[in-house]
Symmetry: C3
Subunit: 156 residues, 3 copies
Amino acid sequence: MSTTPEQNFAALGLTLPPAPVPMGVYKPCLIVDSKYLYVSGHGPLLEDKTLITGRVGVDLDTDQGKLAARQVGLAILATVRGYLGSLDKVKRVIKTLGMVGCPHDFGQHPYVINGCSELFAQVWGPDNGIGVRSAVGMGSLPGNIPVEIEVLFELH
Amino acid sequence: MSTTPEQNFAALGLTLPPAPVPMGVYKPCLIVDSKYLYVSGHGPLLEDKTLITGRVGVDLDTDQGKLAARQVGLAILATVRGYLGSLDKVKRVIKTLGMVGCPHDFGQHPYVINGCSELFAQVWGPDNGIGVRSAVGMGSLPGNIPVEIEVLFELH
Amino acid sequence: MSTTPEQNFAALGLTLPPAPVPMGVYKPCLIVDSKYLYVSGHGPLLEDKTLITGRVGVDLDTDQGKLAARQVGLAILATVRGYLGSLDKVKRVIKTLGMVGCPHDFGQHPYVINGCSELFAQVWGPDNGIGVRSAVGMGSLPGNIPVEIEVLFELH
């Protein structure tokens, strides 16, 4: 007997931040063709509604960057659960674009973005929870956040 | 009685630049499965076929950056109308990737990209005209343009 | 009588690197709805399994950058053939995101990314082999690679 994504998330003992409010003219997420959930770029929103800030490799070390990416993943889960009612309505992760704010000589983007990808793999499992991905370094990110991530999910 | 996207655009009193010619080996836009219109990254093309250049936060201030993003939106509308014949054939905005050319300490990407997103919201309305979005800062953009934007639309 | 993508590729006299192994928690590619192949961001993997490194405009000149982009294209072909068994199962290129590692004053991203796009056009032809595209400059890329490219293909 397998567990559900909601059960998997509960077993992690993590707390979701409040679902983030858009900082501009966009929707947090959107359903296409009744089965694809597009999710806007999210930042590392904390439970107190503030954002982690700073550049990875300057203000945050690589492991702090990975924790920030996990926090982005939690903010995405908050948006998904807030919109769909349950993480169980998501079948799998299709695609992730992981964007790291860091100087030009930083090179460990995959390690940092794993903070989000490992969370998704724990929630939806080692097959459905892992999709395609690009993990890259941006010149800058809104409000000096260290990580921004957008995702495309497939729904049941 | 609601107005059409073409009527909404006409009411804005704005002028479209000529539909941009590709600067490389790509198509300006492409239809998938008869109902999704993928649009290539566009720059801020002016009516005289030149591009706005410079970095936001250095050569352009934030409001000039927002105007450049609106100009990118107009170039996208020119591509869409040139390809489909009418803006009315687009049902809604699904996804926007807004990329700002700016130094690493710039942080107002959402405000800048709103220049394009507000235009789309005026043309297709406050629900269909607003999709998911990421607004981020690039290390550099082709020909030193301040903003590049790619979009995915859904067709009727 | 037209030639097949596999025949077109063979005629180029190029050699594929081994299909790359993921550097993080992601899949190299993924099929959606039985007809779309999403491909993760790939780097310029060589036949000896090392990656070309350096920034375009600093360590590599523009033509070396274009060759690096072609090598990324070859790595993508290796992933596609390794997963599907044949390049002939791909119908067309839908979308490419071409990301160049370079300093902020570099501006020839479309020329660089053409290294990949021209390869795809040779393999799948001047219509099906050319899709929509954005070609942009990143602040940094994993392991200091000069080019990273992700693609969406449509299958037969």
